[in-house]
């Protein structure tokens, strides 16, 4: 794209831009969360919103995730378009009742009379903060009928997926990642939307398909560089949406490469990869498949222990080589 057509922003600025555009266009969009007002968000991803849109629409909440999510769900059901910021994904668990038992079921249980278009934005991932501040549990939410789950891996998608999430008619869980905030990237200068339910090929390759999402997409791209030096070309598919899942894009790639590696930062058991591997195998029966994820242990704040558990580029590259040799 020409320099006039794009703008380069930090990951946090991409989120702020999506919020600002949505809040300017629609008075029903509001923001609730801890430290989202004058503080501008834990990652500065909401800077300027309170000054521009006022204290009624941008509200700091106490530490009360069940109420925070419930308020957002109830306000959505009553006609607003709230974004609820849950700083750490680990604490989303406290708000699962209103999200799963009400928001995800509202349209169905009321026979279509009530919908709850709420965006729950939360930050996942391991970055030195310990066992209760490091989890990536998006796989837990993928199987909830009525709930959509998205996970950007670039500033452009952080912007585009938030724009799309704020146009949905039901609840959306938007999962970003601690290690993505240092990133900067190009966005279209004009308004743009990234469709929910659509994966994207980040790097073309003919020997293996790596299906991944969020920060692990960056890790996969690093692994692809390592592999390319030895003549192995990896195709990296960034899922972007976990529910609905774009299996077609992954399957089309896997049908061509003949080998599929799924990569996630969360647990392998009942993980994102387990679902993808099975669904792709249904479409591409003679396929070599392997999964990479965190080891089955809590993620310590200790850097040595964290690094031992969470996948890195070397582990991914080794897994690819092992898969291709089999």
């Amino acid at each position: 794209m020409s320099s006039e057509a794009v703008v380069k922003l930090f990951f946090r600025e991409a989120i702020a831009r999506a919020m600002r555009e949505a809040m300017a266009a629609d008075p029903r969009v509001i923001l609730l969360g801890q430290d989202v007002g004058d503080f501008g968000g834990s990652y500065k991803e909401f800077v300027g919103l309170k000054a521009e849109f006022g204290a009624s629409r941008v509200r700091d909440t106490p530490v009360a995730e069940a109420a925070m999510v419930g308020l957002g769900v109830g306000a959505a059901a009553a006609g607003l378009r709230p974004v609820v910021s849950i700083t750490y994904m680990d604490f989303l668990m406290l708000g699962l009742d209103p999200l799963v038992n009400y928001a995800a079921k509202a349209r169905f249980k009321t026979g279509g009379q009530i919908t709850a278009p709420v965006v729950i934005k939360t930050t996942a991932g391991a970055k030195g903060q310990g066992v209760a501040h490091s989890q990536s549990i998006e796989a837990w939410l993928m199987s909830v009928p009525g709930l959509k789950v998205v996970a950007p891996s670039t500033p452009a998608d952080a912007y585009g997926l938030m724009k799309s999430a704020l146009r949905e008619t039901g609840p959306v869980l938007y999962v970003d990642h601690k290690r993505l905030f240092p990133m900067a990237g190009e966005l279209p200068r004009g308004e743009a939307f990234v469709p929910i339910g659509q994966a994207v090929v980040r790097r073309v390759g003919r020997h293996v398909t790596v299906a991944t999402h969020a920060y692990m997409t960056r890790v996969a791209l690093d692994a692809a560089e390592q592999l390319a030096a030895t003549g192995v070309e990896a195709e990296i598919v960034d899922l972007r949406s976990l529910a609905p899942l774009d299996i077609d894009t992954v399957a089309t790639s896997a049908a061509r490469t003949g080998a599929l590696l799924t990569l996630e930062e969360g647990q392998l058991t009942c993980g994102v990869g387990a679902e993808i591997a099975f669904q792709v195998r249904e479409r591409v029966p003679s396929l070599k498949v392997a999964r990479v994820g965190a080891l089955s242990a809590p993620v310590s704040s200790n850097p040595v222990l964290e690094a031992a558990v969470v996948p890195d580029a070397s582990r991914v590259a080794a897994a690819v080589r092992h898969l291709l040799q089999a």
Partner: protein
Amino acid sequence: MMQIRAFEGALSARPDHGFQLYSSGEEAVAVGLCAALSADDQLFSSGRSIGPALARGLEPGAVMAELLGKVAGPNRGKGGRGHLAKPAAGFFGAHAVVGGNLTIAAGAALAAQVEGRLGVVACLFGDGACGSGALHETLNIATLWRLPLLLVCSNNQMSVSTPVAQALAPQRLSDLAAPFGAPGVTVDGMDVLAVRRAASELVRRARAGEGPAFLECVSERFSSHSSSTRETRSAEAMAAIRARCPIDRLAGALAAHGWPGRAELQAEVDAEIRAAVAFADASPYPDPAEALVDVV
């Protein structure tokens, strides 16, 4: 109140009544509360929804249809008693999770506040929900933000098999609002006029932007917790409880002023319920394909 009593009587007599929680004994709470609400307001309830739904003005035939899983119910038979709802009629709905509607109701009140609407949100729940963290989180934020929210606890003094004194430390449940600085009022939940009086003042206050309140209505549950839960209270206790009928109480108060009594109204009520049953029986079940409709 007679309508609720007769409705539940007709429903419970059917072999296909399904899993029900009855409001018998607590009619005055729902009816008194709804008499204080206007068309701009919304009512949320717990899974004990029959009384609240009928008190709010939903058609008995439609309610019966929903409880029996028929398409003519407001939820097309898909929610049942636990999720009965008709927001267009001011009944935002029941939610079957104990205490699960509290933060949702606060959110609906937040929406009214942000949009500058006059509507008040009332949320009806039982003593069983008062141990829930959600109640305290809701009282805190609603008071802080002065949300137009009225929390109404029908304290029927039992949570399934657990008497209230064994589940909750406070003697007066309305004292639960005190730490947050919101008004807490306790009234006799068997006196429909007392409920209406207290609710009206608290609704006025909320509508004027003065914030939430906690209204405790001490009531009695005339049946066991549910249609499939055995009664744990003694026969003597039940006899005394059923003698405190809120309908008889109102009828007695009105008789002093020459108003008609239960006997005069019973025929009309029974006919209405017969028509409701016929309406529900005439409605079909949803097509199995509806299991996948309105999911996302």
